[in-house]
Amino acid sequence: MEKVAIIGVGQTKYERDKKETFAELVFEATSKALEDAGISKDDVDNIVSVSSDFWDGRTISSMAISDASNAYGKDITTVEGDGTFGVLYGMMRILSGSFGVTIVCAHHKGTESNMRGITNCAFDPLVERKLGIDAISSAALQARRYMNRYGVHEEQLALVSVKNHKNAMRNPLALLPMDISVEDVMNSRKIADPLKLLDCSPVTDGACTLVLAAEREAKRLSTSKKRVWLKGTGHCSDAFRLGDRDLSDTRALKDAAKRAYTMAGISDPRKEIAVAEVYDAFSHMELMWLEGLGFCEDGAAGEQMERGVFNSDGKLPVNPSGGRLSSHPVQVAGLAAMAECALQLRGEAEDRQLEDPQTALVHGINGMCGQSHCVWILGK
């Protein structure tokens, strides 16, 4: 298979109540990505936008940011999800042979709307939606089921929040850099038991753009230092209805991870992955997804977290960016995770740079409680 590389990365700062419009955010991130790649807008021939009409409050939401994303006179299409799925489509477009250098851009201004109302609309209007369930209360049902099944403690969930907020202190783009303790998390306001305020990610505004190119173009347009290769990917979805799943089960992620590892030629992820960005919208999810990705046995991530395995100085640093718990620009979140791992592999992650990582893993989701998973393996 022909290789595809990320050759440019651009991000806004992730904040609440950003005063820029959607288009201004996309313009900022895309300009930075083109500058980072060292290419001109004319080197790009198509754009994959990641957006959600409900979050944006407008239909065909990619059209509104087409000029800002450099789509004027070019092709633009849209993918929902958290950006990891947008990269998947961007790569497919390049590999089809029909497209050249591809921009994948995501934007999100969740603080302009009502997260609970919007995520409630993800549920079946004929069944669960009328009950008022949303992203937080469904995640809480999952957290409880996971904790009960494996005997995981609330303090172990809290450790995820402590770690990720601490990591964010070295990320100038993150919304909530904080030096907090397990006690702080445990004493934070109860939201939906067992989840407390500091177990939940803050909905955040921002934009992120990646520039993708096939091997020949990547080598023509950029230096080896800037190139990060998409080495493997896998994608799998579980049942839509919460009650049709065991919410503590990670079968879809296990399948997605297996496909990604196979494509990337990874036989032992515990040894071969140097850094991972994992979808921690809620603290328990990081534990569950680390297990689903095969970094530890089912139910064991809490103990590993206690031992510091996933800290920045641990065996496998997880969410060095601070993760979604420190800033959660929903539609952008997975793309921001891709950007973080690209920067880590390039050795450009500034104060949070890990020691010469060679292979990184990015995990993104779509749907409630991780219905669908997208796993990426990136390499130098």
Binding site: K19, G57, N114, R116, G117, N120, P125, L126, V127, E128, K130, L131, G132, I133, D134, I136, S137, A140, L141, Q142, A143, R144, R145, N148, R189, K190, I191, A192, D193, P194, L195, A239, R241, L242, G243, D244, L247
Partner: protein, 159 residues
Amino acid sequence: MPDWTQEVEVLIDEGRISVPYSWTVGTTLSRFYCELRDNGKIWANRCPECGTVFVPPKIKCINCYQDLHDWVELPGTGTVETFTVVRYEEPAIHPRKAPFVYGIIKMDGADTGMLHFIDEIEPEKVKAGMRVEAVLEDERDGNILDIKHFRPLKPGSGG
């Protein structure tokens, strides 16, 4: 030259989108809701291939992709698989005031869980594994809220 972008008063425009929809409920869920509304019964459907019983009923088995024409009546009792006490108010979507309890209930006679409210018990006393029964509304409209909530099953009444 001063940076005008730092000095400009950025305006906020308040908006609201309100769009009506008339969603068809489809044959499968219509049968479920009609039984609930007219007869006060909870029905499920079963996969002819793997035997999985779905409630609320589904059009096709998620495992086998088979049509589910085999209907079974459920007793209306079940076991709490997981639950949460919701502490925040969100009048835009919540049909009741916080704190209230959501549970996923594994219905007796079914293999899937049903999301609903758990009530008639202090939220702090709800436990996973607890036996519950459905409480129906007296006036029913043919939707999921025809089930008012689930409540703890009294000892000796089938629990």
